[in-house]
């Protein structure tokens, strides 16, 4: 997706991947994979993987001992607190800022404006992506040209948060106001107020046209969609869908603490999903060598994509440089809604050409994405509207996707769990359901006729990625997801309510995602053996509450044959852990986990070598288990502790046993989900009640089934919210109308239906022990499944999220 010609084609990957001078199509996408090279233990033989290992930080979390960024404040007695002045106009230029009163306030250490020396004037993108970023550099740390109500203009550091907030209140900003535009369709008009002059953006993205407020246009096609649509006797269907501006609503707000340490290094303790990208971006902005910045991630109170961005870090760093003190900035909950990030609201149009017998000849999706004031993740999220859901129907010969990504004077958007797939899945799965009903076909059989199977070469995945981006499907549990899901929801024996005006229906939807960004990921890990037979695992992979660190421990202990408690994990500290792209794109277990597996295998090789000498038996005869190296042949064994001591204190020879692993790959195998929603609708009022959500997910092998289920349920809750809550609404000034959780309407425990998660085990040969991703695919499915369920129950179609009683009622009245 990145239009960078220099994208490094690194592949430190699975050694079994064949390479040849002139690759045949089949060799590039082999069906047979050297499975045993990756996954040499059958599920039944495993001790740690697929077992319910306790989440390693859980005891700290439930006792309140775990440390999140804000909890570090007591370590810094001279800590200053930051607050930010944000634009009160939707569009304009700051002409003057009066900071005199603020500066004179007791306890204020520094006030920064766009013109201060310590504030970088370089352009950047907040998107935490690989380099060069596939997002435009279109913003400054503090902005003179403001483009939405919430744009940062000035920042204050003071002795406490109250003083900082009081100082902010005294600062007067004068603006030259410009016309503004809030509606994405209007913004696309040539006469609309223009947000960016052409020279205000660096690192421009393919298809940009700032005269029309367009930051990007992307398009991809396989086959010939127009020909299929125009074919005689093709049934052509067209539907349009609309999604909300959803908030990440992580309970821990964006928080970041910056200081200079005793070695003169700039340190950030920060709630981030992307420590390495943040380090690189700060280096660029502040013109500091990468090596002189350290980014440390403590426990993170939720990310969901909202922290796959450098949202707040430059502010405490600039203030810390200006005041020569540690500075912490914690966004307020209000700021979370109007000045942090949100899901791109979109309109998506779906068109298909279907023959009489229900064969889909062509699918086309078009998305208009509202990227808000800045372009972070704009092009890549829009790309995923097509490239994640459409491959589900890889048997369809003609497919096209196009998207326009436009700016409006509204709050910033960014990455969010699902990353474009929720918008695309609503359109595709709602549309196909409607087509099936129109042609009087069974919606499930209609889908089954076209969806992926093991062995398929998925060309639709290549549609956007260019040549060579097709992928071979090596694991697919869709059939079983559907069967188990139907059973769990009670598909075949649905009871209708006794009141004649209430109707019950079940809707379903399918979904596919990816696992990591194909060809654009890197994870790395190191393992050090201690003399007592325990290990230190250093991994760049980023645990933001998902349990990734625990999965890493399980993978390493499976390879090393030791107890999980014998592995100490240290993750996500750019000084002390190897490189990693960060926690996004469902990559952590698959990419970073594979790096951990390789590091453990590397260490194990050295352990066997030492044990071979100690036992006087060839290493090939040896295996590790339960903290021992043993030989089936002779029955002899040494403990890992023996090996640990011998290796560092040996008489003749000594070695610190270290393992390293690095993983990157061209693969991105899709996980799959089948969603079922059981709803009861009152046809007199339009009111509806979701009785139950069932979601069955094929995530390959779940490294830790309990944690994986938790991911599925949390994702489904987020998906449910997208279907029934309004999200962040904005007024005609583009001002976020939501300032707290009550207004936002995050579904509470009584508002959330029971969620049944079902894990369908398949075996993905390219993933560690057969794993692929789990955490995003169930974020995509409730909006279409709920729309389909309401159609089933009362025969009306809701195309616009959220589904509300009023909309159902209006549709019923119009019927």
């Amino acid at each position: 997706m990145s239009d960078d010609p220099n994208d490094p084609q690194t592949d430190g990957g699975t050694a079994s991947k064949p390479t040849s001078e002139e690759p045949q199509e089949f060799e590039e996408h082999p069906l047979e994979w050297d499975e045993s090279a990756n996954n040499n233990k059958a599920p039944g033989e495993r001790k740690s993987v697929s077992q319910p290992a306790e989440k390693f930080d859980d005891r700290k979390l439930v006792t309140g001992q775990a440390k999140y960024t804000a909890d570090y404040e007591e370590r810094f007695p001279d800590l200053a607190h930051a607050a930010v002045v944000r634009s009160e106009v939707p569009h304009g230029r700051v002409t003057a800022i009066d900071t005199t009163e603020a500066e004179e306030l007791d306890g204020v250490y520094a006030v920064l404006t766009p013109w201060s020396d310590d504030v970088p004037d370089a352009k950047y993108t907040s998107a935490g992506q690989s380099y060069p970023e596939p997002s435009p550099w279109d913003m400054n740390v503090l902005n003179e040209h403001v483009r939405y109500i919430g744009d940062p203009i000035a920042a204050v550091a003071a002795e406490d948060a109250t003083t900082a907030a009081a100082a902010v209140d005294t600062i007067e900003v004068e603006y030259e106001e410009y016309d503004h535009v809030v509606d994405p369709e209007e913004a696309f008009d040539e006469d609309a107020p223009q947000l960016f002059a052409d020279d205000e953006v660096e690192n421009k993205i393919v298809g940009h046209d700032y005269d029309r407020n367009r930051m990007s246009n992307i398009e991809g096609e396989i086959g010939d969609v127009d020909a299929a649509l125009e074919r005689e006797n093709a049934h052509v269907h067209e539907t349009e869908w609309e999604t909300i501006r959803q908030s990440h609503a992580q309970i821990e707000k964006h928080t970041s603490l910056a200081y200079t340490d005793e070695d003169d290094r700039k340190v950030l303790i920060t709630s981030t999903q992307v420590p390495n990208h943040t380090r690189r971006q700060l280096a660029h902005l502040f013109d500091i060598p990468i090596r002189d910045i350290r980014v440390k991630k403590p426990r993170v109170g939720g990310g969901f994509g909202g922290k796959q961005a450098m949202v707040v870090e430059p502010i405490p760093l600039a203030l810390s440089l200006a005041t020569d003190r540690p500075v912490m900035y914690e966004a307020s909950r209000d700021e979370e809604f109007y000045a942090m990030r949100s899901r791109h609201p979109m309109k998506v149009r779906a068109r298909t050409a279907v023959t009489d017998d229900g064969t889909i000849e062509a699918i086309a999706l078009y998305a208009l994405s509202n990227t808000g004031a800045y372009g972070s993740h704009g092009m890549t999220v829009a790309g995923n509207v097509g490239s994640k859901p459409m491959p589900l129907y890889s048997k369809v010969p003609n497919a096209r996707f196009e998207a326009d990504i436009v700016h409006t004077n509204t709050p910033q958007t960014g990455a969010m769990r699902g990353y474009g797939a929720p918008q695309g899945t609503l359109a595709l799965e709602g549309h196909l359901d409607e087509v099936a009903r129109d042609l009087d076909l069974d919606p499930i059989e209609f889908r089954r006729q076209h969806y992926m199977e093991v062995g398929d070469l998925d060309e639709i995945a290549g549609m956007m990625g260019g040549e060579g981006a097709e992928r071979r499907i090596r694991s697919c549990g869709l059939d079983e997801c559907i069967e188990r899901g139907k059973e769990a929801i009670g598909w075949d024996d649905l009871e209708q309510p006794s009141e004649p005006h209430r109707h019950r229906g079940i809707g379903m939807a399918l979904s596919a995602q990816g696992t990591g960004v194909a060809g654009d990921e890197l994870g790395a890990a190191q393992i050090m053996m201690n003399e007592d037979g325990s290990f230190h695992l250093q991994v760049g992979g980023v645990d933001i509450g998902t349990g990734a660190d625990t999965a890493f421990i399980q993978i390493a202990s499976e390879v090393l044959g030791c107890d999980e408690d014998d592995i100490i994990v240290k993750s996500s500290d750019t000084d002390n852990t190897p490189f990693d792209y960060g926690a996004y794109a469902s990559s952590t277990t698959y990419i970073s986990g594979m790096a951990v597996k390789k590091a453990a295998e590397d260490a194990k090789e050295r352990i066997l070598e030492w044990a071979s000498r100690m036992l006087d038996e060839p290493a090939e005869n040896l295996e590790t288990r339960d903290g021992e190296v043993y030989s089936e042949e002779s029955g002899e064994a040494v403990t890992l502790e023996d090996v640990g001591y011998e290796s560092v204190y040996g008489h003749d020879d000594r070695e610190h046993i270290l393992g390293k692993g690095t993983h990157s790959t061209e693969e991105s195998p899709p996980p799959f989900a089948a969603q079922f929603v059981d709803v009861t609708v009152d046809e007199q009022t339009g009111e509806f009640e979701v009785n139950k959500l069932v979601v069955a997910v094929d995530c390959g092998v779940a490294i830790n089934p309990g944690m994986a289920e938790g991911q599925v349920e949390g994702a489904n809750h987020m998906s449910f919210e997208m279907a029934v809550s309004e999200g962040i609404t904005v007024d005609e000034q583009g001002r976020a109308e939501v300032s707290d959780f009550d207004e936002y309407g995050l579904p509470s425990a009584t508002e959330t239906p029971p969620i049944e998660s079902i894990l369908i085990e398949t075996h993905e040969p390219t993933g560690p022990f057969g794993a692929k991703s789990v955490a995003e695919v169930p974020t995509n499915t409730v909006p279409p499944a709920l729309s389909n369920a309401i159609r089933e129950a009362v025969d009306v179609r809701i195309n616009e999220m959220p589904v509300t009683a009023e909309k159902v009622k209006t549709a019923l009245d119009e019927k």
């Binding site: 989440k55 909950r333 349990g547 949390g714 707290d740």
Partner: protein, 181 residues
């Protein structure tokens, strides 16, 4: 000004600024298990017991609780000796990022003290103002239902030690507040 508080069974005098809320005061004094997820007393992350009643500490004016008895998450189990509710949360994988969890456990403790055998609906009702973005509430609800079983007489509670519940919903497990990682 200064106020007297009994925090987790220890009497102490703490300094309070005019606009301090209780969450700020507790956190300033090392009780970092009290979390702040909103600024407005709606997310439930800052729940503590104030004189035996669950309160969102961020919504309590610190000057108004002079003389009160406070119990925070730090008063429940320790990492080596978890309270049965904490144990159930761990065993059910009910914890993801963990940020909402201390507040939710405080609420669960209050619920089970008053209603030792709640239905699922009652559990959901009890934690209705404990917002969680990670779990979809499914596993926390299961954990609390299981904790009720664990705390019922003959269950495995004996091995645990952190479960002396009186009618006010407080227990007397002393704990020394915040410790470093």
């Amino acid at each position: 000004m200064e106020i007297e508080l009994t925090i987790n069974d220890e009497s102490t005098t703490v300094a309070v600024e005019s606009d301090d809320d209780l969450a700020t005061v507790l956190r300033r004094n090392g009780y970092k298990g009290v979390k702040c997820g909103c600024d407005s007393g709606v997310c439930g992350a800052s729940k503590v017991f104030v004189d035996g009643e669950v309160k969102m500490a961020c919504g309590v004016d610190a000057r108004n609780v002079d003389g009160a008895e406070i119990e925070t998450i730090e008063a429940l189990g320790t990492q080596d000796d978890l309270h049965p509710i904490q144990e159930a949360f761990v065993d059910h994988f009910a914890v993801q990022c963990g940020f909402c969890i201390p507040g939710m456990i405080i609420e669960a403790k209050s619920l089970l003290a008053n209603n030792p055998d709640p239905t699922e609906a009652e559990v959901r009702q009890a934690i209705d103002d404990n917002l969680c973005r990670c779990t979809g509430y499914q596993k926390p609800v299961e954990a609390i239902l299981d904790a009720a079983d664990r705390m019922h007489g003959d269950r495995s509670v004996a091995a645990d030690g952190g479960s002396r519940i009186d009618s006010r919903g407080t227990d007397d497990t002393g704990h020394d507040g915040d410790s470093d990682e």
